[in-house]
């Protein structure tokens, strides 16, 4: 395992509301970082409702899970699932037949402490909600990425989550806006990036446009960031660069052209 940096950055990816694209973001950002040569571990803390293994296409390789690690049934090394594509990307699976109470915040901190010396990035996939699972997920993290959609209920939940992260003394909280549709924003039918920043008052980490390719890549178990032509991949790649400490301008969201739409609707391309 080739660790690039002496220190390890621990991110929690959270949102409050479910279905905004947390797990998709975790899968893509971790894959993107691994592609850049970093050693990365993703931790699925959605105990009882796991999805990260499916999104990463690693469901057939899972043997042990994090609950078995903390209960001493296996070692942490044994539970880590190696990615198909990148040798320095690992996943620590959630347990499917257990629940959030089978893990404590202290245990999560302990697992992270053991992983830190070997990895550049630890990315924690937080379950939806503000209960125990959320508390467990934020306990070990230094930085938070709040994922939201340009939609009132998602923004309200994001605001609540940001408040809770601030109470938990997080200094580094950044916003990832997922599934924005520039054509709808322009028509006045969707909240814009500026609107979201005004409401939530936090720094922007990235903007990912709505992209039907995400459904297709999820069907295949291949993160869309690997399909470099897609607009979502470019957006996730920019976020990866920013996580590496580079300054990347925010891309101006191109609206789909008439020909692009025609092609898409008639099944050409891709």
């Amino acid at each position: 395992m080739a660790k690039k940096n002496p220190d390890c950055q621990v991110y929690v990816v959270t949102s409050g509301k479910g279905g905004v694209g947390k797990t998709t973001a975790v899968a893509n950002l971790s894959t993107g970082l691994a592609k850049q040569g970093y050693s990365v571990v993703v931790m699925d803390l959605d105990i009882g409702l796991k999805k990260l293994d499916l999104i990463l296409g690693l469901e057939n390789r899972v043997i042990y899970d994090i609950v078995q690690v903390v209960e001493g049934e296996c070692t942490l090394r044994q539970a880590l699932v190696k990615d198909k594509r990148f040798p320095d990307l690992f996943m620590l699976p959630a347990a499917q037949t257990r629940n959030k109470d089978d893990l404590t915040a202290e245990q999560v901190v302990e697992v992270c402490k053991e992983l830190r010396p070997d990895f550049d990035f630890i990315i924690i996939d937080c379950p939806a909600g503000i209960e125990k699972g959320f508390q467990n997920a934020i306990a070990a993290a230094d930085k938070a990425i709040v994922v939201t959609n340009p939609e009132v209920s998602a923004v309200r939940d994001a605001d609540r989550i940001i408040g809770m992260l601030e109470s938990a003394e997080f200094r580094d909280i950044k916003l990832l806006v997922n599934r924005i549709r520039p054509d709808m924003v322009r028509r006045g039918d969707m909240l814009s990036i500026e609107d979201l920043i005004e409401h939530l008052c936090i720094e922007l980490l990235g903007v990912v446009p709505e992209d039907s390719g995400v459904v297709i890549s999820t069907n295949r178990g291949e993160p869309i960031i690997l399909d470099e032509k897609s607009s979502a991949a470019q957006a996730f790649n920019n976020v990866v660069q920013r996580m590496m400490g580079k300054e990347v301008p925010f891309m101006t969201l191109q609206e789909e052209s008439f020909w692009g739409k025609l092609k898409r609707n008639f099944g050409f391309g891709r």
Binding site: R156, R160, R187, M190, L191, D195, H199
Partner: protein, 83 residues
Amino acid sequence: MLNFLKRIFSNGQPSSRSRANDRLRVVLTHDRVGASNHLMETLQTEIIALIARHMEIDGTPEVRLITEGRHSALDISIPLKGR
């Protein structure tokens, strides 16, 4: 021309985006300080009653929550009658 068509089809209604912004502004302000509409009404009545006990109020007094970034404040504006 485009604006003219837009106006016809939107029949003078504000865009759904601006409605969303207005609704979020109110809801987030209330969420952050844990104040419901009912609490705001109670506060308004009690504050005005308190002032009215000592001074003469003139016009329309207002008690509302205002926000600056993630910080909120109670904005109380009570016009008083001069002598």
